[in-house]
């Protein structure tokens, strides 16, 4: 039998899962108010889900580090390896179209705001995310005021 905290923990986790799934465009049913976490906890979860940003490094930094990694990879691949050793299978296939689309998505953000101004990508990324979420965030703001 679950204790009260155990139940509250499970309810909160399920509510977060549902919100994140909805944010990701996946079908998700939010639990009923009676079956979900308390009203106050729900508002906190909604606030964090809506407002905490993901930061992006500057284009200059990203490209400079990419160059360092390419150089390091070249040195690594030219070094002699023990017989039988291989680089392990990578968890993604670079030829998958989905990856190229993701990269292009970042590049579109970049072209949309950061290259011309030299400003960090954070601005563009934040703007897009803020726009996407502003509707939901607006409805929650009353609680904080």
């Amino acid at each position: 039998m679950l204790g009260r905290e155990d139940e509250a923990v499970i309810q909160a986790d399920a509510y977060i899962d549902a919100l994140l799934a909805a944010h990701g465009g996946l079908p998700a049913a939010l639990p009923d108010a009676a079956a979900g976490p308390s009203e106050q906890l729900r508002r906190t979860i909604e606030l964090l889900e809506a407002r905490l940003p993901r930061f992006h490094p500057s284009f200059r930094f990203e490209e400079a580090l990419a160059g360092r990694l390419r150089a390091a990879a070249s040195m690594d691949s030219s070094a002699p390896r023990p017989p039988g050793s291989t680089i392990p299978q990578l968890p993604i296939d670079t030829r998958l179209p989905g990856l190229a689309e993701n990269v292009m998505f970042d590049r579109r953000l970049l072209l949309g705001g950061a290259i011309a101004s030299g400003v960090s990508l954070a601005g563009a990324a934040m703007f897009v995310r803020a726009q996407r979420r502003s509707g939901r965030a607006r409805s929650r703001r009353e609680w904080l005021s």
């Binding site: 986790d13 606030l47 930061f55 392990p88 968890p91 993701n102 990269v103």
Partner: protein
């Protein structure tokens, strides 16, 4: 596929996919964009050097690579924190300014809301803060967070729940001076 197994240049695709996530986690922890960049570089260089030690335990979207990368990141942050103990903690405004460089009058409310959320997050103990950031910013499951932080899945759920209760209490406090 065999070619990809032997091609370290394929690492760049992983780098492009995860660089923002690693940087973002580092910035939440260190609150300093330059320190976050240094740490991000460290993490990817270490990951590249240690790629032969990585053991895939999933497939596709269930790949364990991200967890492995965040484990390196967590360890690097711990090292950085030990090194930083002699230095004062960066102010919250550093993160806030980085988050809203396009701040204008009509976004003042957004900024204020973000400031309160960040202040509440930073009032948490480190393990609770990290669990919340991984859950909400990086959208990791409790299982993945457990692997990153070295906790069980159920312990992560409890940590997150307690963190949420603490943040709720913090948000109910009367407002302090504006950031």
């Amino acid at each position: 596929m065999e070619a990809a197994r032997r091609d370290p240049h394929a690492f760049e695709a992983l780098y492009r996919k995860y660089v923002a996530q690693v940087y973002s986690f580092a910035l939440y922890e260190l609150r300093n964009p330059h320190a976050a960049e240094d740490l991000t570089a460290q993490v990817f260089l270490r990951a590249l050097a240690g790629l032969s030690e990585f053991r895939e335990q999933g497939a596709g979207d269930e790949s364990s690579f991200r967890v492995w990368l965040f484990q390196i990141c967590r360890n690097s942050i711990s090292n950085e924190r030990r090194r930083q103990r002699r230095h004062p903690e960066a102010p919250l405004d550093t993160v806030l300014d980085h988050a809203a460089p396009d701040d204008v009058a009509e976004r003042a409310a957004d900024r204020q809301e973000l400031a309160r959320a960040l202040a509440a997050i930073y009032a948490l103990p480190a393990d609770r803060r990290r669990a919340l950031v991984l859950r909400f910013v990086h959208e990791m499951s409790a299982r993945e967070i457990g692997q990153v932080l070295g906790k069980s899945e159920s312990a992560v759920r409890v940590t997150i729940h307690r963190a949420l209760r603490q943040v709720t209490e913090q948000l109910r406090q009367p407002r302090g001076p504006a950031h």
